[in-house]
């Protein structure tokens, strides 16, 4: 056994907590880092050691490569787990770790650099015989011949960032006259998010489904897949609900896509855990390579729940050079798993991020329910980070049962003080298109009822009564005479003009 004695986790939120938990279960000492706003965050409380990075912005904290490598060396860590986001797909950071004598738990820096560049990664896919969505060369800022750039793609099309991920720097454009503004805006967003403003155009498939395959590869090059995850329920190109198995695949398509995913990983000489993302055209059954992510994926728990493997443990063992004896025949998924991302946002105001103090945060529990959470009651939710608070995962012997368990869990998950998307999740899961499994990435946009304000339920009157009682009990005489004691605002955003949104 040559697993590490101490690992530093260079991340925050739910993924830092989740990685620390597995490392502790493996008997590995854990160290974490944190920014000033995170000094009371759960990952800090959980880890064996926690080191302040000093500062509030991500640039001076979780993105500061030097500070993190220095702290890892000083605390005696042998390896660094980057989680997802932040420095996880930064080849420079991976190299810094290796040069400092630390093991980076992930692929090699050359692999990260290759896959992080959408253009080079597509060349790799072509070499592996994996089909691509038609796309353009990179746009040069100031280039005015946009007809030329968009020819062979057609409208509507997508503007995408070369270095992007998570939907940042991405736009759908319907008409050629809107293209220049979209390119400029995407260029700016990409430059600020990734330090690389390159953008290009791609064919937009209106009834596309997002299906990805989990890959595991050991240092000897043995590469297997852990089946698929469907992530078609998205808002602003960010995933909201994921499930496995996908309702879009039959056995034949699943087999072909799995082989393509493994071929892609082998062509990139991939090691450790990675994900190959595809678009599936729901009308034609064609599939196209989107990108390969060189890190653990946010939605990895649904794979863990169906194949009954701990991905972080496997990542760690592979990075330590252990022979994990990967064998495709031993991977047999059982049942169905679902993940709902709980975001601090108002689903009825264009998913605007919300902030505030989590007055109440009471996670549900029960058979087949798992919560990967990065927050605790009393914590302040700030604008410094992504608005995802937690991931609620359900498992059931079949799809109907995992959906049923998820609905039960969401209904018994009190969160107060910060607006969340829980009411939206509850409605989405019972929508006929979701229940039938016939949905695509346009699910939220096509079903505007899901995001228009909730109809007044029987409970709103009861809630008003409770609010009035607690208000009056508190030494306050009724705020006004009987008749209108309190004013109902289902959402604190209600007074804001929604028409200012696109």
């Amino acid at each position: 056994m040559n697993v590490f004695s101490k690992v530093l986790v260079a991340n925050r939120g739910e993924i830092a907590v989740r990685v620390v938990q597995t490392l502790q279960a493996m008997g590995i000492a854990t160290a974490v880092v944190y920014s000033d706003p995170d000094s009371n965050a759960p990952h800090v409380a959980l880890a064996d050691e926690a080191f302040a990075l000093g500062g509030s912005t991500v640039e001076e904290t979780y993105l500061d490569r030097r500070k993190i490598v220095d702290l890892a060396l000083r605390c005696g860590a042998e390896a660094v787990h980057p989680g997802y986001g932040f420095l996880s797909e930064n080849p420079g950071f991976c190299k810094d770790c290796i040069e400092a004598g630390l093991v980076f738990i992930g692929p090699r820096p050359e692999t990260i650099a290759l896959l992080g560049d959408k253009i080079r990664s597509k060349e790799t896919a072509v070499q592996a015989g994996v089909p691509l969505v038609p796309s353009s060369p990179v746009w040069q800022p100031g280039e005015s011949n946009l007809d030329n750039l968009s020819s062979g793609i057609g409208f509507p099309l997508l503007v995408k960032a070369s270095a992007g991920g998570g939907g940042r720097g991405m736009r759908v454009v319907e008409r050629v006259q809107d293209l220049e503004q979209a390119l400029e805006s995407a260029n700016r967003e990409a430059a600020s998010a990734f330090g690389d403003g390159r953008v290009f155009l791609e064919r937009y498939i209106p009834t596309a489904r997002h299906v990805e395959f989990q890959i595991l590869a050991d240092s000897e090059g043995n590469t297997i897949h852990l089946f698929e995850r469907e992530c078609s329920v998205q808002r602003r190109y960010q995933k909201v609900i994921e499930e496995t198995p996908s309702q879009a695949l039959n056995d034949d398509l699943r087999k072909r896509m799995a082989s393509a995913a493994v071929a892609m990983a082998e062509s990139a000489a991939y090691t450790n855990a990675g994900t190959v993302e595809f678009l599936v055209d729901a009308l034609t059954g064609e599939y196209f390579f989107l990108e390969m992510n060189a890190r653990i994926q946010v939605e990895h728990p649904i794979t863990e729940e169906t194949v009954k493997l701990d991905m972080v443990e496997l990542q760690t063992r592979i990075a330590a050079g252990e022979n994990v004896r990967l064998s495709q025949e031993n991977i047999r998924p059982v049942g169905h798993a679902l993940e709902c991302r709980v975001y601090a946002e108002d689903p009825y105001a264009n998913f605007t991020p919300s902030t505030g103090r989590l007055l109440a945060w009471r996670p549900p529990s029960g058979m087949g329910i798992r919560l990967d959470s990065g927050v605790t009651e009393g914590q302040e939710v700030t604008t410094y980070y992504d608005s995802m608070l937690a991931k609620l995962v359900s498992w059931g012997p079949d799809r109907e049962e995992s959906i049923g368990r998820m609905l039960g869990a969401l209904k018994s998950f009190p969160v107060l003080g910060v607006t969340t998307n829980i009411p939206f999740l509850l409605q989405a899961l019972v929508h006929p298109d979701f229940v039938s499994g016939k949905y695509d990435t346009g699910f939220i946009d096509k079903n505007s009822g899901l995001t228009s304000s909730l109809s007044v339920s029987q409970l709103s009157g009861v809630a008003t009564g409770i609010a009035d009682r607690i208000w009056q009990s508190n030494g306050n005489s009724s705020v006004s005479r009987r008749g209108a004691p309190v004013q109902t605002l289902q959402s604190p955003w209600q007074g804001l003009p929604k028409s200012t949104f696109p």
Partner: protein
């Protein structure tokens, strides 16, 4: 919302601090559902059986601000906390409904604030790089009455 005394719920409070109650509420005389109610400052937060509500005491200001006529609004209000990364208009510019006014980055995502109607820019209240909060005024359009 008009208050109806028949809605006064039949509460069983199982745990109570001065500003925090939790327990169950009896609906239709036979169905019991859980609730949680917190009072924080001038707001009351209620969670009841999967639904969340925020209440603020009625006041003339609240009543007015929650129901402004959106398309005729003169003030473009910031919908989200974040940083102003681009301002696309200047004082005196004529704008059309749907035209891009201000771009705000919030939680790593760009929010494009568009004009709710045709009009003229009377004032720009923010600068690039400003940290803004929801509810802050970003841009003011010349009021409809004046432009006529």
């Amino acid at each position: 919302m008009a208050f109806d005394s028949s809605l006064m719920p039949d509460l069983e409070v199982t745990s109570a601090l001065p500003n925090r109650w939790e327990g169950t509420v009896l609906l239709d005389g036979n169905r019991s559902v859980p609730f949680l109610a917190y009072r924080e400052g001038q707001q009351v937060y209620v969670w009841i059986s999967g639904e969340s509500y925020v209440f603020t005491p009625a006041s003339p200001t609240n009543a007015r601000s929650s129901r402004t006529d959106q398309s005729a609004s003169d003030e473009i209000i910031c919908p989200v906390p974040g940083v102003v990364i681009a301002i696309q208009v200047a004082v005196g510019d004529m704008v059309e409904a749907g035209q891009e006014l201000v771009v705000i980055e919030s939680m790593k995502t760009e929010q494009i604030i568009k004009s709710p109607r045709d009009g003229t820019i009377e004032r720009v209240s923010v600068q690039e790089g400003d940290r803004v909060d929801r509810g802050m005024r970003l841009v003011v359009l010349t009021s409809v009455a004046e432009t006529e």
